[in-house]
């Protein structure tokens, strides 16, 4: 049963690769956006504390 799901009648490699790449690209977008926000936040906080001084 599980083997049938994975094999997709011989097209498993193509189907699962497509879904895997989709998750990788969409996930990478989230990861990079979070990283950029963290970087911006630390710079803005630094800028804010420097201004206060």
């Amino acid at each position: 049963m599980l083997a049938e799901v994975f094999s997709m009648n011989g097209y498993g490699v193509y189907v699962w690769a497509s879904y895997g790449i989709a998750f990788a690209i969409l996930g990478l977008n989230v990861f990079l956006a979070r990283g950029y926000r963290k970087k911006v936040l630390s710079k803005v906080i630094l800028n804010s504390t420097n201004t206060q001084d």
Binding site: M8, N9, Y11, Y14, V15, S18, A22, Y36, V40, S48
Partner: protein, 245 residues
């Protein structure tokens, strides 16, 4: 009406109202993705000609649709910059371009993977594939131009003009299968007549389309909020925002 729109689009107001909206769309993305992937992979029947390989459609078609949709949004924003000098539109273009590029890349890669078992080749220089590849170059070009013109005067207008020139490619991508004799199949969903796809296969596709749209809105709001945070870092209201974090 215009006064309300201007107020909603001011960086400070946008930053406030976009937060709950972003979380709402993030939730919708998870729900639609879960239902869409399950029904696409396990509930939809196999195609009588393509077998289970057709299930790539649930990734390929939404990403191809989004590649055009995101560029159309960017073009609308570019028009707002050129005609009305609308500042927030530039922020939206910056936030949307990498997402559009990702969808285009995904459409090209999944199309290539689908093409191998169906057409016997990973790639062919037919009109649909070539115009979609040009769209990817346009996205990359917009991002490169934004980076190279950073902090330069009127950079947003130059980027907007480039986006508007690139819009020529959008109808070419969409109508390429009608205008030229291509290996890529014709329209089955986005056409004026009734879609020529079984409803059992269509509904998961529409759900996946909603998932991709929700994902785009979530990520665009997230990236736009980050960009506002950076551009408005010297404003006093930012200190209140930082206090809430």
């Amino acid at each position: 009406m215009w006064a309300l729109l201007y107020k909603l689009a001011s960086p400070k107001t946008f930053y406030q109202w976009s937060r709950p909206l972003m979380y709402g769309f993030a939730l919708l993305t998870i729900v639609f993705l879960t239902i869409g992937i399950f029904s696409g992979l396990f509930l939809a029947p196999a195609d009588y000609q393509q077998g289970d390989a057709f299930r790539i459609i649930y990734i390929h078609v939404p990403s191809a649709f989004m590649s055009l949709f995101v560029y159309a949004i960017m073009s609308f924003c570019a028009l707002l910059i050129v005609v009305w000098k609308f500042k927030m539109a530039d922020v939206v273009i910056k936030a949307a371009a990498p997402l559009g590029a990702s969808f285009t890349l995904l459409a090209l890669v999944t199309g290539s993977i689908w093409g191998k078992p169906m057409w016997g080749t990973w790639w062919i220089w037919d009109a649909r594939l070539t115009s979609e590849l040009i769209l990817l170059f346009l996205y990359v070009g917009v991002m490169a131009l934004q980076t190279s013109l950073k902090n330069k005067p009127r950079s947003e207008v130059i980027v907007a003009i480039m986006v508007l020139i690139g819009f020529v490619d959008i109808p070419i991508v969409h109508y390429s299968v009608s205008w030229w004799n291509t290996l890529h199949q014709g329209a089955t969903i986005l056409k004026f007549a009734k879609p020529s796809i079984s409803s059992n296969m269509l509904y998961p596709l529409l759900i996946m389309l909603m998932a991709f749209i929700s994902y785009f809105v979530t990520m665009m709001l997230y990236r736009t909020r980050t960009e506002i945070l950076w551009r408005e870092r010297k404003s006093t209201w930012i200190k209140n925002v930082l206090g809430d974090l």
